[in-house]
């Protein structure tokens, strides 16, 4: 048995032996926590519309996003968000809360390396790729839109 063959066999053996994430419990956790966050967003929007009757629905939706971002950043700073995230997985990552956490958590982590090269530059180590791909996607869509 040559080295390549041995490595392939070993990795196949490891793959078969290693514990896997159970999809159904993960999906359930993500569903109810994610759903709850979305309901909270709706609630904030409705409250905005209730207390400020002249606000447009679009503005109310924006304020609801702002509120969720602030809440997620606050919970990150308080050290609670990572525990919810460990339980809910995609349930907290997919809503805007995940984006807020991905910027706030490196800020907390790297603030000890200074304001500029620590906090400010490391803030985007997780969210940076999301922003880059978002901008690239919008350019592509923009070009397509130009021709149709």
């Amino acid at each position: 048995m040559n080295e390549l063959e041995r490595n392939e066999r070993y990795n196949a053996y490891v793959e078969a032996k290693m514990p896997k994430t159970k999809p159904w419990p993960s999906l359930f956790h993500a569903f109810w926590v994610g759903g709850l966050i979305c309901c909270l967003g709706e609630l904030i929007k409705d409250l905005c519309l209730y207390f400020f009757p002249y606000m447009t629905t679009q503005d109310a939706a924006t304020w609801s996003l702002v509120a969720l971002i602030i809440l997620a950043a606050l919970f990150t700073g308080l050290g609670i968000f990572d525990r919810i995230g460990a339980y809910a997985g995609a349930g907290t990552i997919i809503p805007i809360t995940g984006f807020s956490n991905s910027i706030a958590s490196p800020a907390v982590e790297f603030k000890r390396e200074g304001l500029v090269f620590g906090l400010m530059s490391k803030m985007f180590i997780i969210a940076g790729p999301v922003i880059v791909s978002g901008v690239v996607a919008s350019i592509v869509v923009g070009i397509i839109y130009l021709f149709i």
Binding site: Y10, K17, T21, T76, R83, S105
Partner: protein, 339 residues
Amino acid sequence: MLNRLGKQTLLFRNRPKVVGSYSVVGPKEGRGNFGKFFDKILEDDLFGEKSYEAAESKMLKLAITEAINNAKINKDEIDALFAGDLMNQIISSSFAARKLDIPYLGLFGACSTMAESLIMGSCYVDGGFARYAACATGSHFSSAEKQFRFPLELGTQRPPTSQWTVTGTGCTILGNTSTSNIYIENATIGKVVDWNVTDANNMGAAMAPAAMSTLKAHLDDTGRTPEDYDLILTGDLGKLGSEILMDLMEYNGYKIGNNYNDCGQMIFSNTQKTFMGGSGCGCGASILNSYIYSRMRNNELKSVLFIATGALMSTVSSQQGNSIPSIAHAVSIKIEGSK
């Protein structure tokens, strides 16, 4: 006369003694299975410092100074300090050493550093290059997460094969005196082994072949069987890695099981949600320097083969798609009078 057995094993004819030891762990490790054995359990893993890196260094320094006190010798009698850790440029060890005023050699063997430092210390003491040598290593969960993985507060899920880096340090003082009956008999230096595991979240699988290679070389060189040891103890293979090692040894015609355990698998209790168990330099270091020596001093264990395993990758090599080269060193620790 060469002080060697076979191809990879060093024989310490002058029997360097374990004259002192000390272990320091974080609060989570203190709540684990070995809480009552550790010498010091921190209440807060920042240990009064401004950063986790500084805390790790302070823990390492504490382990070294207290191990010297435990050996009941003067700091000036320590002629060499061998230490290493997981941080880039081994800052925890070097920063601890700058306050200690002891001739220092920094080591890097990732999580195998406890065995590596014991081997270097044994060579120094056995060869008459040092009256006493300090062998130390440690790791910190929070500094390791920051360097190797994600920010602590990021809400991600850990994969089920992942392990939890132990916040812990340990130091052994070796010397050529008769004040102790625990001695280092021989040691097998491992080769770098890479079976093309690329998953940095599955260190156990990456390191198990290295442990197998070193254990097999040790048995070949010494002409022993696994049953000749009361305990064969690997450093931080974790649950999956230990099972793989047992399978690999069986495939090679050796049955280990009854007298085999792994520090990573042992250190945390099942309710602590660490998946495959503990990892890091501090995992093997804290257990060896507390529970193992204590059982040896009580004559409950007479011969222990300590095999610390290390994954020798960096975040850069992993991002570039490289596989994980691994190493394991074995140290045979015995008490006087055992066969």
